[in-house]
Symmetry: C4
Subunit: 268 residues, 4 copies
């Protein structure tokens, strides 16, 4: 092992040591407090520069930490989705937040989500979320298709409702509102005054999307139940024992047969 | 095989080839874009004729495709529900959209739903939805019965509320709103001012329909879980092995017995 | 068997014959239509007396049917909950609907619910609902207790809100609204303006009742899944076969042993 | 056993006797009625002193009961969470309810929750609730983190909306409202007028929190199903029988083998 390799290895061990992880965790929590305080204009008037300085210092630590990790791990760094996650949410804070990008300043707070990549149990829960997404893709595509079709349909049919169905975008938003059952009757009631049969369009939409969401839910649930069932069926162990016992028994009986006089002819 | 039969078979293979399915898929997606753009009045003013020409061209392709399918498959075509589905949603676009049928123009967008019949995974998901319907029919009928009874009841009791319970239709709509819990308190609060005991009517309705919907949901869920359980119980395989082993063992023991001196009298 | 007994038996068979059940079903459906039409004032002005006559005629048939059933079944009639159900909803229509009981006229429509007791599959579904209630009683009592405690609490704390929390009854209604998440933010936001810590009272209420309702739901679901699991475990049959086979095997081996020379001494 | 120990033991048996538990239950129910009546100002004007006297008397009984329990059980008393529960909710009523603590008077009603610690089935249900909490802690922490991050984000981005996103507290409340889908469209629609891309922030929040709540729900459900599955698998008994039978069979075969002439050499 070369000197350089040795140096890298030690640094890698150091970066993943409990002490460093704890320091980073404390910094994130502290940064959470300062970012929260920054939302108060009166506090910003009084201590603005101090808060910004603390923020920059913490950001610097994060940048150094990730820089060192890249140095140590090299190409391996980019193979982990969580490293990409850290890299991007820290990177957002480095974009010069002026001019048209000024809105990005607000997104600095995403940095607090590093807690997820730091704490294994959170990483595990989020990994569970993400693993549930691919099997849902067909149903999600189906929902998007139904949304689009009904958005075009309602824009053409109910476009006279200037606020809710005037454009394709407005219709998409209104349909999202209807799907979540949030004030759907307030949307449909005025439309039904001029178009009494509006419910013939809206009700199938509600039923189809409810059904599709239910399907998503059942898919995730059966998957979770299945995973658990395979993992810890209490029946398993005894069945394995049984199979072993019966096989041993078979061996015994075979040996028994071999022990009998073989030359005697069968009686049948 | 006759020349005509041969020609039909080749056309059938061609129509179901990956290339044709891809072309149709791309046409549907392209049509989705043009139909979406058509909802914008300003774009229609500028490019209306072009968009309509594209739409007619794509429709023509669909009509030809379905026509050829009917030619090739003959009576067999009408045995598939998905073919009926395609036939109807393409057929809607051919109805002369003028006069009292002008509203049908808006329904041309349903054509995009052909994506469902084209993509097998979507067809499978929708098939799953439809398969879940028949076992729910009793509960659905029960919900409809409860709805009707409460609609007559509330129309008679709360008909003074001109906007919400004046007619049977208005009551049905309002009860649908109450069932989905969307602003139900805004409906019931004013009624309770004059009829303090209105809740004695509304609360049972909410509880019964919630219970019935929950029942629907549990029915679909247990069905899904059952289907999965039967499909992939990990217990299955080992039990089958066990049954085989025990039967083999029985054969062994029977053979063993046969190998013993048969003439000796039983000791009992 | 006496002549009287014979007469009763024949009448009982007649009352439960498919023909009679069909006639009653058709009468209920026809009555559903007339009761629905009666909600329209203009139709009532024109055909009111006719509709009332039809209604009375159908009611008379129901009364006769139930009277004959009581005659035939005697005490046995009162042992079935469904008979009580029919008796009460037909009985309501016989209460003189004048003076202070006039509101009972509206409840005549409950008669349509006889469809449930007539159609076996509906009776089965409703029976399933009712069977789910007893195991839920503790959770329901807990919800009622939490409701009462929070109603007293919110009446005392937020009684200044004249519309929503002025009396115990108003608080109970508002808490029901909050529990169903229907416009809860519109209730809490104004209260929080004067009592910023109102959420410390409301949030636990939302969490506790959501949890309790979830518990109800899980209770019903696990019960349904359990019932199904016991009813149709595919594992069952093979296990039963296995136990039988192994027992038969044991008999074989015992017979085998008996067939061997008994006088030879054991080798150990 | 000393005289003092004997006296304590008898008192302990007496305090847990059915009679005492019933008296306490009746007192709680009676107190529930008086506390409910106290919310009516007109009744308080007429019978206020009487109601307060009854309340004090019942409170005195509770204080004596708990005091005696502490006397009897000593340190053991503090080991039960339910005893702490009783101690605290009775203790609240003893805080002098004047001056800045006057709001605590309203919390006297929490005393009714003693019903939970008195009735075993309720204690069991609440125990089930509490047992479900620890496994949810990671998901709950994740939800809190996401809430905080989006609260800072929306305060910075949509702070111009004076009523809904002006301060961190207002944003937290509004996000809670959005998560429960209660009037979320009324919140987002006005914001989208000036910031058309507001949905890019709000929609991920809705999806993430819905997913997390679904995850909570599935966690509790699979846990409940697992507990039940382990408790009462109908497969269990027969498998145990099978294992026993096969073992007995093995013994039989071993005995059989031993009974055969041991000196004969194996044929293979």
């Amino acid at each position: 092992m070369t000197v350089a390799g040795d140096w890298r290895q030690r640094l890698g061990v150091f970066l993943e040591s409990t002490a460093v992880v704890r320091v980073i965790t404390v910094l994130i929590l502290f940064n959470a407090v300062t970012l929260g305080i920054e939302t108060s204009p009166s506090v910003m008037d009084a201590y603005g520069p101090w808060l910004k300085a603390i923020d920059s210092a913490i950001l610097a630590v994060f940048v150094v930490e990730i820089g060192l990790k890249i140095l140590v791990e090299g190409r391996r760094f980019w193979r982990s989705g969580w490293n990409w996650f850290d890299f991007i949410i820290v990177g957002i804070a480095l974009v010069p937040a002026s001019g048209e990008f000024s809105v990005l300043r607000a997104f600095r707070v995403l940095r607090l989500l590093r807690l997820i990549s730091l704490i294994p149990s959170m990483r595990w829960v989020v990994g569970g979320f993400l693993a549930a997404i691919p099997p849902m893709s067909t149903v999600v595509l189906l929902i998007l298709l139904v949304f689009y079709v009904f958005a075009v349909l309602t824009t053409k049919l109910f476009g006279f409702d200037q606020e809710r169905f005037a454009t394709l975008g407005a219709s998409l938003f209104t349909l999202l509102q209807i799907m979540t059952m949030d004030g759907w009757s307030d949307v449909v009631r005025p439309v039904m005054e001029s178009h009494p049969y509006a419910l013939v369009v809206i009700l199938p939409f509600i039923i189809i999307t409810s059904f599709a969401v239910l399907n998503l839910f059942i898919g995730i649930l059966t998957n979770a139940l299945h995973t658990q069932a395979v993992a810890d069926t209490p029946v398993d162990d005894r069945l394995t024992v049984l199979v072993d016992e019966v096989r041993a028994l078979k061996g015994e009986v075979a040996a028994l047969r071999a022990a009998l006089p073989p030359e005697r002819p069968p009686p049948g």
